[in-house]
C-alpha cells in the first residue's frame, strides 16, 4: 500500500514543480489565497477615481462577497468579486442581484460582472503592471478588453 502513496505523491510533485518560473512572490501569486482588496483601477489617466470608488463601495456592501475589484475602461466597467465559500451555491443569484443593483444606480454605464478567480487574478496582475508603469494607457486598455472578452467566451 505504501508504494501507491509514494507514486501518487511523486506524480503531483513532478507536475507542480515542473513549471516553476522564477517569479518572486508577487501579490498576484497570493491573490487567490487571501483577500487582496485592490484599490479601484482606471485605465485612462485622466478619469476620476472617486466614481469607481463608490461602485466598489456599493458592491462590497453585499454580505456574500469578501473581495471586490473594479476596473474602469474607456467604454465599460469590469466588476470582479470573490464569493464567500458557503454562498457559492447561489453564485448565479448573487450575480443577478449585483447586476440589477448596478443597473439601477448607474444606468448610463454598462457593466461586466464576474465571480471567476481567473478574472480576479488577471485584474490584480493588471493593477500591479499599471503600478510598476509597465502598462500605460493604450496597452492597459487592450489588456482590459482582453480580460472582458475572457468573461464572455465562457458563458
Amino acid at each position: 500500500m505504501r508504494s501507491i502513496h509514494r507514486w501518487v505523491l511523486l506524480a503531483c510533485l513532478l507536475l507542480l514543480s515542473s513549471c516553476d518560473q522564477n517569479q518572486q512572490v508577487k501579490d498576484s501569486q497570493l491573490s487567490l489565497m487571501k483577500t487582496t482588496n485592490p484599490s479601484p483601477i482606471v485605465t485612462q489617466k485622466n478619469k476620476s477615481k472617486d466614481h469607481v470608488k463608490d461602485i466598489e463601495q456599493d458592491v462590497s456592501s453585499f454580505p456574500e462577497l469578501y473581495d471586490v475589484a473594479v476596473v474602469k475602461g474607456k467604454k465599460d466597467t469590469l466588476v470582479v468579486y470573490k464569493v464567500k465559500h458557503l454562498y457559492r451555491f447561489k453564485m448565479k443569484k448573487i450575480e443577478k442581484d449585483i447586476n440589477k443593483m448596478l443597473e439601477q444606480k448607474y444606468p448610463d454605464e454598462n457593466f461586466t460582472i464576474s465571480s471567476d478567480y481567473k478574472i480576479f487574478l488577471e485584474t490584480v496582475r493588471l493593477d500591479e503592471k499599471m503600478k510598476s508603469s509597465k502598462y500605460k494607457g493604450k496597452k492597459a486598455e487592450n489588456r482590459f478588453n482582453e480580460i472582458v472578452n475572457m468573461t464572455k467566451d465562457l458563458k
Partner: protein
Amino acid sequence: MATSKQKNMTPQQRNYQQLQQKHEIKRPVLKNCIKAFFVGGIICVIGQAISYFYIYYFDFTEQSVGNPTVATMVFLSMLLTGFGVYDRLGQFAGAGSAVPVTGFGNAVISAAIEHRTEGFVLGVGGNMFKLAGSVILFGVFSAFVVALIKTLLVIWGVL
C-alpha cells in the same frame, strides 16, 4: 430482475441459497465506503490542485479549466495504470478510484494495454472501449434525452 428469478427456482435451490448466504463472507461495506471516501477525496484534491495550476499559469477561467484538468488526470491514470499501480489502488479504494475520471481513463487504458498482444487494429482498436464504452453511450443518450426535453419545454414556453 432478482425477484423474477426467485419465483421460478425450485425449493431445493432456494433453501440451498439461504444456507449459502450464511457462509458467504459479507463485504466490509463501511470499511469500503470510508476507503472510497478518502481516496476519492484525495483524487479530487489533486484535481483541484491541477485546476489551480492551470488557472495560474495558463489562461483558463474557472469554468473552462475542467477540460485540461480532466486531460491531465487521464494522463496521470495512464502512468499509474502502465506501472501496474492502479489495479492495487482499485482493489484498495474500489469506487474511490473508479468513479473519478481517472477510473474512466484506467478502464480505457487497461483495455488498450491488455489487448495489445492481439495487434493494434483488432486488439487495441477493437477492445479499447470494452469497459468504458457503456459510460459514453449512456452519457450521450441520457444527455440527448434531457436536452431534448428541455429544449422542447423552452420552445413551448414552459420553461
